[in-house]
């Protein structure tokens, strides 16, 4: 089965000023969603990315340049990702449809390219 990466984009400050109760409800919604994904055997891996720090490296004419970023002042940052198994994009979308994150930001779905290594 193919693997799909759910890239979670978020706007910094989305959760600012939220009450503890509201935060707990969001955590619980997420837990319910990931439980469902895991129970269906579609879960592969997920990671949250650090909010602060980050480096952007570019090489121009053999010269390496390392810049700090992306900054949290940016309009949108990648907060983390989930990798799931799905038959095709259609199914990947179906699995993502009720992800609680959609209330707060967009999710980009990309199929990983096995490059002829064969599917697991």
């Amino acid at each position: 089965m193919a693997k799909f990466m759910l890239i979670v984009h978020e706007k910094p400050g989305t959760y600012k000023g939220m009450s503890p109760e509201e935060m707990q409800r969001i955590v619980e919604k997420y837990q319910a969603w990931t439980d469902k994904i895991r129970a269906s055997g579609r879960y592969v891996v997920s990671d949250k990315l650090m909010e602060e720090g980050g480096k952007v490296i570019t090489a121009q004419k053999g010269k390496l340049s390392v810049l700090d970023g992306p900054y949290s002042e940016a309009k949108e940052v990648v907060g983390g990702y989930f990798t799931l198994r799905a038959a095709n994009y259609e199914e990947a979308i179906e699995l993502t449809r009720d992800c609680p994150h959609l209330q707060y930001g967009r999710i980009e779905i990309r199929q990983t390219d096995p490059m002829g290594c064969g599917e697991e």
Binding site: Y15, G17, M18, S19, P20, E21, E22, M23, Q24, I26, V27, E28, Y30, Q31, T34, D35, R38, G41, Y43, V44, V45, S46, D47, K48, E51, G79, G80, F82, P100, H101
Partner: protein, 434 residues
């Protein structure tokens, strides 16, 4: 990263809210109550980190320990950034080490350590140097982990009003030098009274038929009970009147499920389906009431809990022990006279000596200016008139009640009573015609 077969964890209800209160108590002990804002900032950041991390990494094995550790780290960062607080590092380490082992320990030994900190915070929030409104708001914010918006929703106030109230309360804490210590034994009893008053207010706000959101109001009742339980768990505050207050709250809460019908309309005690009363809460209430009897003191909470217990244990409205109830109301009226108590007493009186006697006692009450704009006064009068068959006068009283300020559920209730009365009048007229 979580393993695909990772064990699934569920969060205890209101864990974030209650943990916010507990962490805030620990942090405020280190930072000093004058730096309550800073402590709140750290707590908020720790919870935010959980919110951002747990969706991807799963809920940790011990969420409370996780939150404590993160709060400790964030607090340490903050202390290091602030020269004026840097000397508190060691204290922070000690407090959090104690806290962490308390969180890791199985209850109740851990609960005692944390409860003690929370108790000090409750006493500080209910300090008599603060206005009653401020005491309530601050307790909800600092002990119960409510947000400004949630407090505002519960009290049907503007966010800005509540925010302003909290700012003033915190300023007052600094000016008056209120600290995070339990009151000395000589002052404990008097200080405890203002704490009980705040808990009582919280519960009533949740219990009363305001047009506010149901969920928030239930939370207020639940929170009031939790705070009263916290007082009971601590030996210094487990006094008879605290048991009595907790008994009252349990007994009232037990009747909550029957107070409205499926359409959300308020029901009279006589109309309620007693089968819907929560038996578990009811039994807890009766047990607390028993506990409250150990000692000499009879507080107003004892009397109110006694009244609630009589209702709670009566098989029906008609089979209620009204003479006993009247006796309790008499006692309550003499220790804590209030128009509302007098109104309730008039109802009990009418059940013992008839509606005529009830009306007479209402007439005496009518002189009180507070009664003139209180919707229940004409509403009770209307009901007594109805029982005497004076339906036209009763209808006029209901119309008078509808002209008084009241909430939407209360207005619907009065409207319904008026319509029922009109139906009776119609039936009577029809009977005369045939």
């Amino acid at each position: 990263m979580i393993q695909p077969q990772a064990q699934v964890h569920e969060l205890v209800e209101h864990l974030f809210r209650h943990e916010a209160g507990r962490m805030l108590a620990t942090l405020s002990r280190v930072f000093g109550l004058e730096n309550l804002d800073l402590a709140e900032e750290v707590v908020q950041e720790a919870l935010l980190q959980a919110l951002r991390q747990w969706p991807f990494q799963g809920i940790p094995d011990n969420p409370r320990a996780w939150l404590t550790q993160v709060a400790r780290n964030k607090a340490l960062d903050l202390l290091r950034r602030r020269a004026s607080l840097r000397r508190k590092e060691r204290e922070l380490e000690q407090q959090f080490a104690a806290r962490q082992s308390a969180v890791a320990a199985t209850e109740p030994s851990g609960a005692a350590v944390l409860g003690d900190e929370q108790l000090a915070m409750i006493f500080a929030c209910c300090h008599p140097g603060l206005l009653p409104d401020a005491q309530v708001a601050l307790t909800l914010k600092a002990v119960s982990g409510f947000s400004v918006a949630e407090i505002a929703r519960a009290f049907l106030a503007e966010d800005a009003t509540i925010a302003q109230r909290l700012v003033r309360a915190k300023r007052r804490i600094r000016e008056a030098g209120i600290t995070l210590n339990l009151p000395p034994p000589a002052e404990l009893s008097a200080r405890l009274d203002s704490v009980l008053q705040v808990i009582y207010l919280l519960f009533n706000e949740g219990y009363s038929a305001h047009a506010g959101e149901n969920l928030v109001r239930q939370d207020l009742c639940g929170e009031a009970i939790r705070l009263a339980c916290l007082l009971i768990e601590q030996p210094a505050t487990a006094l008879p009147r605290v048991h009595a207050l907790l008994a009252l709250l349990y007994l009232q809460a037990a009747r909550l499920p029957a107070r409205v019908d499926s359409d959300g309309n308020l029901l009279l005690l006589a109309e309620q389906d007693r089968g819907l009363w929560d038996q578990d809460l009811l039994q807890r209430g009766l047990r607390e009431l028993e506990q409250s009897a150990q000692g000499e003191e009879i507080s107003t909470y004892h009397l109110q809990a006694g009244i609630a217990a009589l209702h709670a244990t009566s098989p029906s409205f008609a089979d209620t022990n009204w003479p006993s109830l009247l006796g309790l109301y008499d006692q309550l009226l003499s220790t804590a006279p209030s128009p509302v108590v007098a109104l309730n007493r008039a109802i009990a009186l009418s059940m013992v000596h008839g509606p005529e006697a009830g009306l007479q006692s209402l007439d005496e009450l009518g002189a009180d200016p507070a009664m003139r704009s209180y919707y229940l006064f004409p509403a009770v009068r209307a009901d007594l008139l109805r029982r005497l068959g004076r339906t036209d006068e009763a209808a006029a009283c209901y119309r008078h009640a509808l002209a008084c300020p009241c909430t939407e559920p209360e207005r619907r209730f009065l409207q319904r009573r008026l319509e029922q009365l009109a139906a009776v009048v119609e039936r009577n007229h029809a009977a005369i015609r045939t």
